[in-house]
Amino acid sequence: INPGNGSVKQWYQRRVRETNLRMATDYEFPWQYNFPPFFTIQPVVKTKEQQLQSWRSLICDYHKANRIWEVDISGDVFRNSKISRQLSPAGIRTVLQNLVEEGQGVMQGERCFVLWNSVAQWASLIHTWALDRGLANTVLTLFEIHSGDDTEGEPFHTMDVWLLHHVIKYLEKEGKAELMLGDSADFSDAGVKFF
């Protein structure tokens, strides 16, 4: 046993929380996932709209349940080996494009991040957390927010740092935060002050 920071009790409590988190991610795929035509982008417009809507739900629910922030195009989501079907690369592009168009995804170059909460919703959650903790007008690192002990159990804990900075920029536009970028491109020295 390596207690890490603090006592054995704290370590134990963290393990319990992590286990609870893992148990909550027994994500069940919807029936469409086992329906072979679901992996063919449908030619009939109305049917395609319905199909894309189902894909959006699947992608959001899957990533939220597994706490995965970035889409992996070679991942389980787009292929079902049990029925030997997978979305073609073009199909994946169509699905992700639609995801972004509907506000449930955001692109950073080639990377696609899933927004199971909208940017506005994330902004509100993080801002409220900061103010509730009495952290207004103090400088926090982005690291503390996405990976600090203090945010364990919060829905934005483990958030990808690029996505986090994207959300904070939104808060900046609302006048509720100030982003302080450091020198590194990976935001490892970036900070924020909430108002």
């Binding site: 029936w31 086992n34 329906f35 072979p36 035509p37 679901f38 992996f39 063919t40 449908q42 030619p43 009939v44 109305k46 049917t47 709209e49 319905q50 199909q51 809507q53 030997s84 079907r85």
Partner: protein, 238 residues
């Protein structure tokens, strides 16, 4: 002197006739009285029956079905109008009205996925799930009656037999024989339909194409490009 002739006899006869008539009226009156008394007893028993079994009728599908049969035998339609004597007494009209509304809701909700056709068994299980409360067991008989009542609103809803399956169609328009045949073939194969199974029936490729295109357009069919097969979501169960 001869008996029974003469004024005396006539008068006597008249008197006898009058008395008979009077008696007749009396008897008739008694009969009417007896019948009304019986009616009163019947009505009371009926009311007791209704109150006692109202919940049972709503809850128990077998009981409900037998009750319907009994009513049909007596020549009573408890569903005729929710303001009718029976419907008021038993509250049965409401049951089918409510069920009709729920059927419409379920069909509208599933229409984007199945193009407007849903199997009877799927509809039953979805209805059982949505209402909870007193209604656990919706039977096909209930659905058919409720849809029968819905038909007064227009012909958006109909029951279609496809092979051994019963489908409820909630989009207007007729499914042609070819369409139902194609659906039936799919139904026998867990929802999967291939072009050659229709060609085996002797259909020309134009006929095959035309039917498949219509069903595709309706959203009742999806296409799988990997093996060029067609699938009916209504018949698919993972």
């Amino acid at each position: 002197m001869r008996r029974n002739v003469g004024i005396g006899a006539v008068n006597k006869k008249r008197l006898a006739r009058e008395k008979l008539a009077q008696k007749g009226t009396e008897i008739a009156e008694i009969q009417v009285q007896q019948v009304s008394q019986q009616m009163e007893v019947f009505k009371q028993s009926l009311e007791e029956f209704a109150t006692k079994y109202r919940t049972e009728i709503k809850k128990n599908p077998e009981f409900r079905a037998r009750f319907q049969v009994m009513c049909a035998k007596i020549g009573v339609d408890p569903l005729a109008s929710s303001k009718g004597f029976w419907a008021q007494l038993l509250g049965v009209g409401d049951f089918y009205y409510e069920l009709g509304v729920q059927i419409v809701e379920v069909c509208l909700a599933t229409r984007p996925t199945n193009g407007g056709i849903i199997t009877m068994s799927d509809l039953c299980s979805l209805l059982g799930r949505s209402s909870g409360k007193t209604r656990k067991d919706i039977q096909p008989d209930d659905i058919i009656r409720a849809i029968g009542k819905l038909s007064v609103l227009g012909d958006g809803f109909k029951v279609v037999k496809v092979g051994k399956d019963t489908l409820i169609q909630s989009v207007p328009g007729e499914l042609s024989m070819d369409h139902t045949t194609a659906l039936e073939v799919a139904g026998r194969n867990s929802g999967r339909l291939q072009v050659d199974s229709l060609e085996k029936l002797g259909w020309t490729s134009l006929r095959v194409e035309s039917s498949l295109d219509t069903l595709l357009d309706q959203g009742m069919l999806w296409v799988d490009e990997v093996d060029k097969s067609y699938w009916v979501p209504a018949f698919f169960h993972a």
